[in-house]
Amino acid sequence: MKLQCPSCGGQQEPQLICRQCGAPLPAELDCFAALALPRRLTIDPSALEERYHELGRRVHPDRFASSAPRVRAASLAGTALLTRSYRTLRDPASRGLYWLELNGEKLAENNKQVPPELAETVFEVQEQLAELRGAPAGQDGALRREVEARRDELGASMDELREKLAYNFARWDESDGSDRAELVAELKSVLSKIAYLRTLIRDVDRELESPKAA
């Protein structure tokens, strides 16, 4: 599917900026296409950032301040799309979610079961947080240290999950498609665990940071 540049008439694959005249193109692009990246899950973060800044400069509305309204509009839309795409792909977990979406899969579909060990952890830790919340200020030192140790454990679990996510990304990138169902299931499983753990860590951090009313 080719796209014709409204400014110079050049034919090209849909992309953010015309290859021939450098004008912003009014194209509907997915996040990978917006950043002119191949559809691969494994992304080098520094290359991604560099690409984002480079394209950001080239599509920037300041460059087209005196252009036709149609071009200015495309520059604005392109800038917004670029930023949205960058944010979506930058965080591996959100990239994974977006990938599922691109592949017509839904994270929550047939996926309401919290893995039992993880549910156990959630309830245990939340119990600890409630205790800490209830303990009088000044007498909560031991509890606080327990929760802080828990926080470290949870952080380590998150690191493991992120490694597992990277591994799954690589598997998907190398796959010939024959094991698609398994890859989808695995990706959903890791992403769900990350979501539950992230919420729990957020709650722990809030509790540890909240100043206790005397």
């Binding site: 929550a108 309401k112 919290v114 549910a119 959630v122 979501a195 539950y196 919420t199 729990l200 709650d203």
Partner: protein
């Protein structure tokens, strides 16, 4: 986004927070989660031999709407027969709490929790009373759509 008064009421004064002993044979426990936002909900139902829900407890870790949905559900199911409770649709919760579209998944979670808790109770009773003649799960089982 503003929460409705009913959500705030349930959030600030949640009904039936807590848990029953998992060892109690009359208790059905359902733990469900919303992987999109990381919310986790535990619903426990105390169900008598006639299949009537006598009491309910919940613990939900998540947003205000998820807490309100589960709190409301504990009130809603009390006194109902499990066949009736398992047919409860999330739309009832949406309507009662006036949930906005982005929070509809919280009500779905509460609906799923009811089904999971009753399923757990049936499983436990099924093992304990394998030859119970009045066990008629087929009709109720059709209620678990989605």
């Amino acid at each position: 986004m503003a929460y409705s008064d009913k959500v705030l009421d349930h959030y600030n004064n949640p009904r039936n927070v807590g848990s029953f002993s998992k060892e109690d044979p009359d208790i059905g426990t359902g733990v469900v989660g919303a992987p999109e936002c990381g919310d986790v909900m535990k619903l426990q139902l105390k169900i008598n031999d006639r299949g009537v829900i006598e009491d309910a407890r919940f613990k939900t870790f998540g947003c205000g709407s998820a807490i309100a949905s589960s709190s409301y559900v504990t009130e809603l199911v009390k006194g109902k027969h499990i066949d009736e409770a398992i047919a409860i649709k999330n739309t009832v919760i949406v309507k009662e709490l006036n949930l906005p579209p982005v929070k509809i998944h919280c009500s779905v979670l509460a609906e799923d929790a009811i089904k999971a808790a009753i399923g757990d109770w049936k499983k436990r009773k099924g093992v304990a009373q394998a030859d119970d003649p009045k066990g008629e799960p087929s009709r109720a089982a059709t209620g678990s759509g989605e």
